[in-house]
Structures are given as C-alpha cells and as structure tokens.
C-alpha cells in the first residue's frame, strides 16, 4: 500500500513536471516572450552605461569632496575654523533603483556659526533641473516594473481561457491528470519562464558594471543584488498569478486580455500616482519656506542670546580653513575677553545648531510620514510596493535622507565634544587664535610686555604711514603658524543600512507579498476547480 502511494505521488509529480515542461517550451518560443525579453535586454544594455556613468560621476565627486574636506581640516590653525563638511556616499546599487527625485540630502556642513540660508544642505535639495522634474528616471527597476510585468501578464492571460477556446484544455483534462496538477504545472512554468529574462537582465547589468570598471562591489552589495533579484522574481510572479487568476475568471481569451490589461494599467500607473496625489492632499503640508523661516528665527534668537557678550580689541585677521577668517594676531584685551566670552557663546551656538538640525529633521520626518501614508494606499499596487523595497535594498530610498541627517546630528555632537575637550571648554585661546600674550606687540616692533597705550599709539602711527611694508612680514608670519594636530578628531561615517537592517526593513512587506501571492494562487485553484472547460 505504501509502495502504491509512493508510486502515485511520483506519478503525480511527473505529471506536474510534464505540464510545466510543456507550458514552458510552448511559451518560450512565442512572439510575445521573445519580443518582450529582447526588448528588456536591449533597454537594459542601453541604459546601464548611462546609469553607471552617472554613478561614477557621483562617486568621483564624493571622493573629491571628501579629499577636499580632509585638506581643509589639515589647514586649520585654530579650533574655531574646524567646520567639517560631510558627504553621503553614493550607493553602487543605485543603478538598479535610482534615487527618487526630491529626496536627495547628500551633504552638510557642521558649522555652529551658520550665517547664510544657502548652506550646502539647501543647495543639494533645491534643484532647478527641469529634466529631473519632467522626465522621471529610467533604471533597471523601471524595466521590471513596466515591461517585464506586461510580459508576465501577456504570458498568463491565455493559459486557461485561451486553451479553453482552442479546445486543448478539454483534451488535457480528459486524461488522468487532476485540475490541481494542471494549474500547478502552469504556475511552475510561468515562474520558470519569467526567471529567464529576470536573470538575463541582472547579468547584463552586472556585466555592464564590471566592464565600466566599477569593482568596489563587496559582500554587502552582492547579498543585496541577490535579494533584489529574488524580490523581482517575486513581483513578476505575483503579476503572473494575477493574470492567471483573471484567465480563470473569463471564458474568452479576449476578455481575459482586456481585463488583465486594465488591471495592469491600474496597478502600474494609476495607483502609484493617485497614492502620491492623495497623500500630498491628505497628509500634512510640508513647506521648505516654513522651514527656512524657522531657521532664520533661530538665527535671530541666537544673535539675541549672545549679543551681550563683548569680545574685542586690536586684531589682525587671516584666511583660514574652509574659507573662514581667524585671529592671526590679537592684543591681550582680545585674549582675555575671548577666553571669557567663548565659553559662554559657543555652547549657545552649538545648542542652536542642534535646534536647526532638529527643525530640518522635523520637516524631513513629516515628508517621510507622507510617504508612509502613500504606502498605505500603494498596497493595492504591487508595482509601488516593489519599487519601495528595491529602493530600500539599493540604499536610494527617501528615508535614506532622514538617516543621513540623523547621522549628521550625532556627528555634530561628536565634533562639539572634541572641540570642548581640546580647548578646555573653549577657555583655551587656541580655540580662536594661535597667538600668545605679547605676540601682537612683537609683530609691530614693540617689546613683548609693552603697555596697551604704547601698542595703540604704534598702531595709529602704522596706519598713518600705510600698511604696505607690513605685507611681507604678515605673509611670512601666516606661513609660520602651524596647523593643528587634530589627534582623535572624529571622522564621519555614514555607510547606510546594514544587510540585517535592510532585511528587517523589507521582511514584513515580503511576507505580505508572499501571503498575497498565496491568496491569489488559492483563489486561482478554487476558480479553476469550478471552471467550465466546455
């Protein structure tokens, strides 16, 4: 008895395999499959060089900027001039799912004395690029979203209704094959068929990356690429299953085709756009002007708080790191007032800088909240869900901007802590000047311990004569001022999410997608069991 059962199971398995093989071979040589696959491959081959070139440009710019920042740090002669710029590393996987327009926040400057609204952060997020606004990006995910999904639908729409019309469904079922085995065979064949173009496109993309000389693809990236290809296959399988289900609902091939195509237009175009539309309508308004006004207000309040702190005296300025001036030479009045004043003003400035970051984070969080609202609406569209997951794996999701800004906030505090520790809470004159007591007097030709009145009179006399003959001495003096050592200075590291975090991020959605897939399959099975094959 057990042997008979085992034999029966094996025979059933063979039947499913035979059906799957038949469907696979039948469809792999059809016009629709060949045309669709070739179109996808050709498109991928054309767009990959452009995407890779764009990535290489971004990466080069990132490297140049990072090097320039290190160079500026080495030039710093006073701690006050240490206002590092931080940059977000572009992800090589962005060729698979490009950064969504409007979500770029890729650079920031840690400067507690921020003066102008047009700091680097604003620059990178405000674009005036019409092309980006009017022509959305074509990346590998786009090829899968639109073309492969259409192909999946075209393959699935006539698997049941088409065979019924030809009469072959009747013939197949008149043999000793159950309905469940038949439909299972079709599902397996569909999965196998769609695996081919998906794998071919990924191979083409990776080959294009390799040919272009992009070699810094580590273990993290390989795992992400594997996950992306798995997700892609899951997505196109879902579209295939939906097409198969529609085919089981219709008696005519033409009806299943039309119904399937309307569903496809609904899922691929309408729901993503309507979802975003509704989310921006129902969600909180997010305005960059409100943000700018709040930041300006913070600047005014900051100036009010530090207004009463008087610092000054005679000074000679020089150009330092990051284009900021510093006190090259100053008299004792400046030294004393600076050592008293900066411990009061700098913590205030640091606090307001953090508040500014908090304002920016708040607005970015509001935008992300809008995105989550849209995601709720997007659950009816596997296309949009798929795009979200691919963006997360590629590191080009909109929340990446939020994570970057959060890293910037944490880094800013590290920098402030370093400055505090290195300058004894800003009491050390090394914070604002490299000169020491008496250097100013020496520079203008007086003894080190000259009185203030003598210094004032000498400076007046120099001004009357003209300062041209001091220029050479001034230039020599600047060159001899040593740069700071900066031992233990924290470095910014924003490497994005780890693989584990990404998996955690996409896992709920993947599980829901798999569950939906199973639901659609079950419905297909149920419908096919009751399908009239005559």
């Amino acid at each position: 008895m057990q042997g008979v059962e085992a034999g029966s199971t094996t025979r059933n398995g063979m039947m499913v395999w035979n059906v799957a093989k038949k469907e696979f071979l039948l469809n792999v040589v059809t016009l629709k499959f060949v045309t669709g696959s070739l179109l996808c491959l050709a498109l991928s081959a054309c767009i990959m060089p452009v995407l890779v070139e764009s990535y290489k440009q971004d990466f080069n710019e990132y490297t140049i900027n990072k090097t320039a920042n290190e160079r500026e740090l080495k030039k710093a002669k006073v701690y006050q001039n240490i206002v590092p710029r931080v940059y977000r590393k572009p992800s090589v996987l962005s060729v698979f799912a490009s950064v969504e327009e409007g979500s770029t926040c890729s650079t920031y400057q840690i400067d507690s004395q921020w003066e102008t609204e047009a700091d680097l952060h604003q620059l990178s997020t405000q674009g005036m690029d019409f092309l980006r606004a009017l022509f959305p990006v074509v990346d590998i995910t786009f090829v899968f979203e639109i073309i492969i999904s259409a192909l999946a639908l075209m393959l699935a729409h006539d698997l049941v209704s088409g065979e019924r019309e030809c009469g072959t469904l009747k013939l197949s079922l008149s043999n000793s094959i159950s309905r469940s085995e038949l439909i299972l065979g079709k599902v397996i064949a569909g999965g196998g068929l769609l695996f081919l173009p998906v794998a071919a496109i990924y191979l083409t993309a990776l080959t294009a990356l390799w040919i272009s000389g992009v070699f810094h693809i580590g273990r993290h990236e390989w795992i992400c690429v594997l996950m992306m290809s798995g997700l892609t296959w899951l997505y196109v399988s879902m579209v295939f299953n939906v097409g198969l289900f529609i085919s089981c609902l219709c008696r005519k091939e033409a009806s299943s085709l039309v119904a399937g195509l309307f569903c496809w237009v609904f899922m691929v175009f309408m729901v993503p756009n309507l979802g975003a539309h509704w989310a921006s309508y129902w969600g909180d308004r997010v305005s960059s002007e409100e943000q700018s006004l709040q930041v300006d207000d913070l600047k005014v309040r900051r100036e009010q708080e530090i207004k009463g702190v008087a610092m000054g005296g005679m000074q000679m300025l020089a150009q330092g790191a990051y284009g900021k001036q510093y006190l090259m030479l100053c008299d004792s009045q400046w030294l004393i007032s600076g050592c008293k004043g900066y411990p009061v003003t700098e913590p205030i400035k640091n606090r307001y800088f953090n508040m500014k970051l908090d304002v920016e984070l708040y607005y970015l969080k509001k935008q992300v909240k809008q995105m989550h609202l849209a995601s709720l609406l997007h659950t009816c569209s596997p296309t949009r869900v798929y795009r979200n997951m691919m963006s997360l794996l590629a590191g080009s999701d909109p929340e990446g901007a939020l994570r970057f800004l959060q890293s910037v906030r944490a880094y800013a505090n590290e920098v402030f802590d370093f400055l505090k520790q290195s300058t004894d809470h800003y009491r050390n004159p090394a914070y604002f000047t490299p000169c020491r007591e008496g250097d100013f007097a020496l520079f203008i030709g007086l003894p080190r311990h000259a009185t203030r009145q003598e210094v004032v009179d000498t400076v007046k006399a120099i001004r009357k004569k003209g300062v041209e003959h001091f220029k050479q001495k001034y230039d020599r003096f600047i060159q001899n001022v040593p740069s700071l050592e900066l031992k233990g200075f924290p470095r910014f590291g924003s490497e994005g999410l780890s693989v584990a975090d990404k998996v955690r991020g996409i896992l709920p959605t993947v599980l829901i997608t798999i569950a939906l897939n199973i639901v659609v399959l079950v419905l297909t099975f149920v419908k096919f069991m009751r399908y009239d094959v005559r």
């Binding site: 019409f130 074509v138 195509l261 309408m270 756009n273 539309h277 308004r285 997010v286 992300v368 849209a374």
Partner: protein, 474 residues
C-alpha cells in the same frame, strides 16, 4: 454605408466590458484630479496674493529713500494658472520665485510649495489621463477590429456584399473614434463641472477657447492610437498577437521614448549643477575683488570709509568694480538658464519621436505651464528689471545731491550718497505684472506639435488604408 458600419462598431464597442471599464476609469480619474486641483489652486492663489501684497508693502516701506528701493531684493512669484488641472507641466517641481533687484538676479527657487519626497511619475492631470490611460483604451477598442472579425469569419461575410474596402475601414475608424470620444468627453465634462463649480476658479473666455483647443488635441491624439490599433489589427492574423504587438508599441511610445528623452539629453547636452553655478558665482566675486585690489577698475576701488572728504576713496572705480561683478554673475545665470533650456528642448525634441511627447508639449505650451513658462517668466523678470532700473535712474538724475552712481553697495549708497536719498511716489514705481500668453500666441507656440499630430494621423491613416486594402480576408 459608412454610417451603418460606424453604428454597428459603436454599438458593439459600447456593449462590451472594455467600454464600461473605460468610462468608469475616465470618470474616476478626471474627478479625482479635479478635486485635488481645486484645493491646491485655492491654497496657491491665497499664498500668491499674500506674497505679492507682502512684496508690495516692502517696496512701499522702502520708497522713502530711492537707494533703499534700488537695493531692495524683491521676489516675484509665478501666478497659479486656472488651467493647470489640464496640464500641470510638473509645476510643483519647477521654481516659482524670482528674486532680484535692479542690479542682480538670483537663481530662481521653489518657495511655498508643499515639498514632498513622494515619487510621482506624472501629475494626474488631463494630459496624463489622455496620454497614458486613454491611449491605452483606444488600443483596447481597436486591436481586434479587423483580425478579430477575420478570425470569426464576420469580415468575409461583410466583404462578400457590394461594399468597397475603404468604406469599411472608414466606418470602423469613425465608429472607434466615437466610442473613444465618449469616455474622454464624459471625463472632461465631469472635470469641467467640478472645477467650474468651485468658487476659487474663474475661467475667462480665453481659457474656454484653450480648453476647446485642448479637447480637439485630445481627439487628435486618441485618433493616432485608433489608427495604430487598426493598422496592427489589419496586419496580424490573430487578435492576441495584435494585442501583444500593440502593447509593446504602446509601452515604447508612451513610456519609453518620453522617459528616454532625459537620458539622451543628459548625455548629449550636459549642464552644470546648481552647486557648480554657485561656486562659479563665488569665484567671480573673488576674481573681481582681486581685480579691484590690483587696481583694474581704478585706484582704491576696493576700499571705502564713512566720509568721502578724506580724498582716499574713488566712487567711480567702486561702481565699476561692483557693476562688473554683477554683470558677470548675471551673465553666468543667463548662460545657465540658456543651457538648461537647450537641454530641455533637446529632450523635448527627442520625446517628439513619440506622439505622446508631441501631445504633452503642445498641451504645456497652450496652457502656459511647465519649463517653457518658467523660462518665459525669467525673461519677463529680466525685462522688468531693466524697466525698473531705467525708472530709478531717471528719478535719481533729478536729485542734485546724488552722485548718480548706481551700483549695489549699501554702505556707500548711505554714506557717500551715490544714489538719491529722496523719496519716490509709489505710483511712479513700475509693478511687475506677469503676462500670460494670448490664445493666438499660445497656439502659435503649440502649432508645431499640433501639426506633428496631424501629420501622424494622415500617415497612419494611409498606412491603415493600404494595409486593409491588401489584407487577406480568408
């Protein structure tokens, strides 16, 4: 005979599932887009009014001293368009604020726009609905008009009667055209009822004319896809093969070619980023300062003090120094705008390979939205800037206490009186008024794209005619 065939086609289509789906889809999409537009437009109009009033008030506050008015950086905003529900032209993403004074202009920015990081491939406006959804609907109505009837044997029966082939194909075309016009017409009517019923939206007679022309363009565009559907249907033997080919053609024409316009334009016409332009502007400042110190504009151009009586300063040289910097910066910005325009135009030219690209361009130009409007507004601002500068120069010339040296330096304007300190009456100050294109001119801009759509229609109709005349009906 054409009438009978058309009637038969219309009835057949209207009684099918696809027609019902198309009408429901059309009504849903047009309603949603109109409802969202009304709220958005109301908010934009209120904001625009507030912004312009604020700007006017700021100018009034500064009219007590001519130099304050000259130095004041006012911001003008693009007026929200009542027809933007027809074609938004990605208005949300394009800068709407132009800040300038009589000496210099800044890079235009987006202000008071609800910023969003939500990805929207397109705004759901009329152009999107017609170019993406209705074109697809037109294909579903026609993909099996000929090959489907051939498969069933109906076509053979029809042609066995004394009906010339051109009558049949004309009848089919007219029937399909009427069938497609119904969901489009219902959708447009729904949208117009919703929008015109809103208190905040007022259409002028010019707007109604533009809407009529838009409707005609929609039918022209839909007609292209009807011809395409009939052509492929005539060439194919089976209806599912016809649908496959049409679907891929549709993806190529409606999605790929327009999208690829950007990629191609970025390769062929690269432009600097905004950050690079700002860096160049900063470099210009440094260069002009170095030149001033070196004495290129005259001695002591870079220095100033509160009193001219010391005889150490040179206002004329200082004016040359400042004006040179401003001219270079303005030129840089103009070049940037020109390059951007060139890149954008190239992308549009490329996208015209597809009727969708031509249709979108025609709609944007007719309605006055999108990038074309942005650059047009930029040039209007530039002209206004010249007019305002001339006016201020005229008023300044009448003041004997002024040195009549107009340049962008507040300190010297105040201390040295390089410009007049006398007040100016507000009615003498020219106000910026955005000029919308008249219907005739807008049509003139769009005529190339409309012509392209007409030519495509004619070419495709000839193709359909020839294909059907030579079609094997067995």
């Amino acid at each position: 005979m054409i009438r009978y065939i058309a009637q038969k086609e219309i009835l057949e289509t209207m009684l099918s599932l696809r027609f019902g789906l198309a009408v429901i889809l059309s009504v849903l999409l047009f309603s949603v887009s109109s409802l969202v537009f009304i709220t958005d437009y109301q908010r934009q109009t209120n904001e625009y009014r507030e912004q312009m009033n604020h700007s006017r008030k700021e100018m009034l506050d500064r009219s007590d001293h001519l130099y304050e008015l000259a130095l004041y950086k006012q911001t003008v905003y693009r007026k929200p368009k009542p027809l933007s529900f027809c074609s938004t032209g990605a208005t949300r993403a394009i800068p709407n604020a132009y800040r300038f004074n009589i000496f210099s202009r800044e890079i235009p920015e987006k202000k008071s726009r609800p910023d969003t990081i939500l990805m929207k491939a397109y705004e759901v406006d009329w152009v999107f609905i017609i170019s993406v959804v209705m074109s697809f609907v037109a294909l579903t109505f026609t993909f099996d008009r000929i090959c489907g009837e051939k498969e069933k044997g109906v076509l053979r029966l029809i042609m066995s009667g004394p009906i010339p082939r051109y009558t049949v194909i004309l009848g089919k075309y007219c029937g399909a055209m009427v069938a497609v016009s119904v969901p489009i017409g219902v959708g447009v009517l729904t949208s117009l009822i919703i929008v015109s019923g809103a208190k905040s939206v007022h259409f002028t007679s010019e707007d109604w004319q533009k809407i009529s022309i838009l409707f005609f363009m929609m039918l022209l565009y839909g007609s292209i896809f009807i011809h395409l559907g009939l052509l492929i249907s005539a060439r194919m033997v089976r209806s599912d093969s016809s649908m496959v080919v049409l679907l891929f053609l549709w993806v190529g024409l409606v999605i790929l070619v327009p999208y690829l316009g950007r990629t191609v334009a970025e390769i062929v016409r690269p432009i600097p980023t905004r950050a690079m332009v700002l860096k160049k502007q900063a470099a210009i400042d440094t260069l002009t300062l170095d030149n001033a110190i070196a004495g290129k504009y005259g001695p002591n151009a870079a220095s100033w003090g509160p009193s001219l009586s010391q005889g150490k300063y040179n206002p004329a040289a200082r004016r040359r120094y400042f004006n040179d910097g401003n001219e270079k910066r303005n030129q840089l910005l103009d070049d940037y705008i020109t390059q951007m325009r060139g890149q954008f135009n190239f992308a549009c030219q490329f996208s015209r390979l597809s009727p969708t690209g031509a249709f979108r361009q025609a709609c944007a130009r007719l309605v006055g939205s999108g990038a074309v409007h942005f650059t047009d507004m930029y040039y209007q601002v530039r002209n206004y800037q010249d007019r305002l500068r001339k006016r201020i120069q005229e008023v300044d010339a009448k003041d004997p206490d002024s040195l009549h040296l107009l340049y962008e330096d507040r300190d010297t304007a105040y201390h040295w009186k390089t410009m007049s300190h006398k007040p100016i009456a507000l009615e003498h100050i020219p106000i910026f008024r955005e000029q919308s294109l008249a219907v005739g001119k807008a049509l003139g801009h769009a005529i190339y794209d409309i012509g392209l759509l007409c030519v495509l229609n004619i070419v495709l109709f000839c193709g359909v005619f020839i294909a059907f005349v030579r079609c094997d009906l067995r």
